[in-house]
Amino acid sequence: MKITDQYGVLFLICMGGVFLSHLCPFPMPSGISSMVVLFCLLAAKALTLESLQGVSDFLLENMALFFVPPGVGILAHMERLRGSLLPLIAICIVSTLLTFAAAAAAVAATQKAMTAWKKR
């Protein structure tokens, strides 16, 4: 597909995602519902990875770029954060390491349980 067509298709998929997120009875980020729509289209072979190559390479390589503007927006909240900066940093580090350990342990435990169950 031409690059303009790729963007057109992706934006249509996003519209579909927003549509579904509004129908959803619980709060559903429109990014997630759009992701599900795209995955289903790929799985149904309505789209191929190659046909979206240009737009997917561009977005995946430059993902962080689109978060610069929201990041700069932190300027408006500096006053409020100044006092609690150190605890916030500590919270981020501790919870990241805990999450890491818990996820690894859960994968290992599930795999062990599954092999044990298969052997029976």
Partner: protein
């Protein structure tokens, strides 16, 4: 005086915000390639530079946001495109579906619970706590969850990026320390705790680790959305 007014008119367009963002990001990427430290990534360099520039040149945030808001339009398509990562790794996903889902769900729950209790322990105010809560998932998802629950989007973004850097720096050490040999467990742990920035590190560690980490970014995001329904 006329020239000053003309300059002001030029700043009061979306072009200014877009140009400074894209160009400082490009410079940041060049520096990041030279320095090769997760702390010197393009995102951090570009964000810090723009904040400093706006402060020094005394340009209001609203002027920058004219262009910034245009760029934020791409957040939903950028999340949607993550589906291609999962689809590309569908054989690995199918072979390890249950352990992967279990790892991401448990990881996401641990992240939410640990942030909640740590915030209470430190007496962090409600708005800030709500902004931190989704910080282990990838930015577009975290931002939407944060704003939907009354958080400050920009604080969430900062916490997400910081978390990613912590994960990327600590991942090799944690793998040795916890004696994790299984590449799927390693990838899921990295992707669940530190999203896309961690995944970049996981790809360096190994192919399976990188692929599993990419899947975990999506699965952990979805798990967190599901867990938010019960909050």
């Amino acid at each position: 005086m006329n020239a000053l007014n003309a300059l002001k008119a030029a700043l009061e367009t979306p072009f200014f915000g877009i140009a400074i963002t894209v160009l400082s990001f490009g410079v940041g990427r060049l520096i990041g390639r030279r320095v090769r430290s997760p702390l010197a990534n393009a995102y951090v360099i570009s964000t810090v530079f723009i904040i400093a520039f706006l402060q020094i040149a005394d340009i209001p945030l609203e002027t920058y946001a004219l262009g910034g808001d245009v760029m934020s339009l791409m957040l939903v398509p950028a999340t949607a495109i993550l589906a291609t990562i999962v689809y590309r790794q569908r054989t690995l996903l199918a072979a390890n579906l249950v352990p992967m889902i279990a790892g991401c769900l448990v990881g996401a729950a641990t992240s939410l619970a640990s942030i909640y209790f740590l915030c209470r322990f430190f007496g962090i105010d409600e708005t800030i706590a709500v902004s931190l809560l989704p910080k282990s998932v990838t930015n577009p998802i975290a931002m939407e969850l944060s704003t939907a629950s009354g958080g400050i989007a920009s604080l969430t973004v900062a916490a997400v990026v910081f978390t990613g850097m912590v994960g990327a720096v600590c991942a090799p050490l944690m793998l040795t320390l916890l004696k994790i040999k299984n590449p799927v467990a390693a990838g899921i742990a990295i992707g669940t705790s530190s999203h896309v920035l961690g995944t970049a590190k996981a790809i360096e560690i190994g192919e399976t680790q990188g692929a599993a980490s990419g899947i975990a970014v999506c699965l952990a995001g979805m798990s967190t959305v599901v867990l938010y329904m019960f909050l």
